[in-house]
């Protein structure tokens, strides 16, 4: 079954013929445990792709492999036709300038204010005159609705605001690929709605390709064009979010509908209850 899904994922990408990210036969181990065991997936250009799965399935690890922060044990991770693991430092940095990444907690530089955080990539990579730089920074802050907060320090921002500032920073170099790592974690419903809307609008308005790693099935299903469900180091299901929600396969149903017990058991593996209560350890 897993192989069928893997093949389906690959075939879907091949049929589209315009994948920005291609993952083939990816194997990766960490701490003696296999995180990926022959993973295959494709991210279509211009799409919003959700990568979902239970905790510990390696969703964030996948993002780190795509961005070259980690190297695969074996297999292929390609971005725009270039194998990430084979790139030297300079080429990898050149590729990363075409990517933006939104970290779970925003990862704003705490000694810089909002304006300087957004200006940071521009100051490092360009020699824009101050007036033009100001124009670009304020435009990006306007896009995420925080132009008025340009003077605040990161410690003065709420979780949702920090993530929006980080989003403005992620798009300031006009990337082609925008990667979101758990963008909804810990947000109140209003902030969540704002971030959700921004993911879709920025993707369409700026002609981006977006990858969103999330557990929040309902929310991400509303904006994603395609979704991958990862379990056991492989793709358990792939397709439009509506198709995944309608699936009758046990592991897909358990995840998509938040069922407490199923293929992912409620109980952590343990010896017999009676035996342990009876004095065994």
């Amino acid at each position: 079954m897993g192989d069928e899904n893997q093949r389906a994922a690959g075939a879907a990408g091949a049929a589209a013929g315009d994948s920005l990210v291609r993952v083939r036969e990816l194997h990766y181990r960490a701490g003696g445990r296999a995180i990926f065991d022959g993973l295959e997936l494709d991210i279509r250009r211009g799409s919003v792709t959700a990568v979902m799965g239970p905790s510990g399935t390696g969703k964030t690890t996948l993002l780190r492999l795509i961005t070259g922060q980690l190297r695969p044990g074996s297999g292929l991770v390609e971005v725009d036709g270039r194998e990430v693991a084979s790139l030297g430092r300079e080429d990898l940095y050149r590729l990363r300038r075409r990517m933006g990444m939104l970290f779970q907690n925003g990862a704003l530089l705490t000694d810089l204010d909002v304006y300087e955080n957004v200006a940071f990539p521009l100051r490092e990579h360009t020699r824009l005159p101050e007036r033009l730089l100001r124009h670009v920074v304020l435009t990006k802050l306007q896009a995420v609705g925080l132009r008025g907060a340009w003077r605040l320090m990161p410690a003065e921002l709420s979780g949702g605001m920090a993530r929006r500032v980080a989003l403005a920073r992620a798009i300031v170099l006009d990337p082609e690929l925008l990667i979101y790592d758990e963008p909804f974690a810990g947000l109140d419903p209003v902030a969540l709605g704002v971030v959700l809307r921004l993911i879709r609008e920025l993707n369409d308005a700026l002609g981006l390709t977006s990858i969103v790693v999330s557990h929040d099935v309902q929310e991400i299903s509303a904006v994603a064009d395609q979704a991958y469900l990862l379990t056991g180091g492989r793709v358990a299901a792939a397709g439009a979010p509506r198709e995944l929600a309608a699936s009758d396969r046990a592991e897909v149903r358990q995840f998509m509908h938040g069922l407490p017990d199923g293929p992912v058991p409620f109980h952590y593996p343990a010896p017999g209850y009676a035996e342990q209560l009876g004095g065994g350890r």
Partner: protein
């Protein structure tokens, strides 16, 4: 016995690996230094953080160490009837030994821990990873300015420490114990040579490189957890302190 040997081998292997990692990191810092100096604003900011913010603790410590030196020196020299040499004794003690060594220990405790914990927290909160994702080399942008700020600050702090220490020794020796003011300064000027001053300068520069390297290495490589940051901070103080005392012995033996 074989188990003991094996354990010894593992420890030695670990120590050599750590030394190699330190050497590679130092080489990376050295290679990046010319480019980092092209952005002096970042370095000056760190001279302020590591140097200016350590001034109060260094000046206070220098004053008290100098005062103790004045008291102890007077007590010792009085026994030989040569208390007028107090200025020389205090100057040589402060310039050659106490100034560089105590400043380095204070530097490791104040600036070193601040550097290590700041870098450790930047890693724990993904700020380092975010920089890498923005194609900005964190070693060049964050680590190097902090390293250079420490290297520049250390000799300046040691000089301030020795100067204030001399003032403290004079305060006690001359004002309190009644040593002749003229004798105190003239003996010092007659006896202390440029070589003595240079010995202190060399030591404080070497200690500055050692303490700053340990702090930025430990902070930058700390585990991205609260425990990891705490451990990096502790290691910074412990390694720096032992290293300073070891280097002090080696430099003294070499420069005498």
């Amino acid at each position: 016995m074989p188990a003991l040997l094996r354990e010894l081998g593992v420890s030695m292997h670990g120590a050599v690996t750590a030394l190699g990692a330190y050497a590679l990191f130092a080489a990376r810092l050295l290679a990046g230094t010319p480019r980092a100096l092209l952005r002096p604003r970042l370095v000056i900011e760190q001279v302020h953080n590591a140097g200016a913010l350590s001034l109060v603790i260094v000046m206070l410590s220098g004053l008290f160490v100098g005062m103790v030196l004045g008291l102890q020196g007077f007590d010792l020299l009085e026994r030989f009837g040569s208390e007028e040499s107090l200025g020389t004794a205090a100057a040589l003690g402060l310039l050659k030994e106490l100034g560089p060594v105590i400043t380095a220990l204070l530097f490791a405790g104040r600036a070193g821990t601040a550097l290590a914990s700041e870098l450790g927290l930047m890693r724990a909160t993904d700020q380092i990873a975010a920089m890498e994702m923005m194609a900005v080399d964190p070693v060049r942008r964050v680590v190097l300015p902090r390293f250079l700020g420490g290297v520049i600050s250390m000799p300046l702090l040691a000089a301030v420490f020795s100067m204030i220490g001399l003032f403290g020794a004079q305060l006690v020796g001359v004002q309190l114990m009644g040593v002749d003011q003229g004798q105190f300064w003239s003996q010092m000027r007659a006896t202390v040579e440029l070589g003595d001053v240079m010995e202190g300068v060399v030591k404080s520069c070497v200690f500055g490189v050692a303490c700053s390297l340990v702090a930025v290495y430990e902070g930058f490589h700390s585990a991205p957890t609260a425990e990891g940051v705490g451990r990096a901070t502790t290691r910074t103080v412990v390694i720096s302190s032992v290293l300073v005392l070891l280097l002090d012995y080696l430099l003294t033996a070499a420069l005498l």
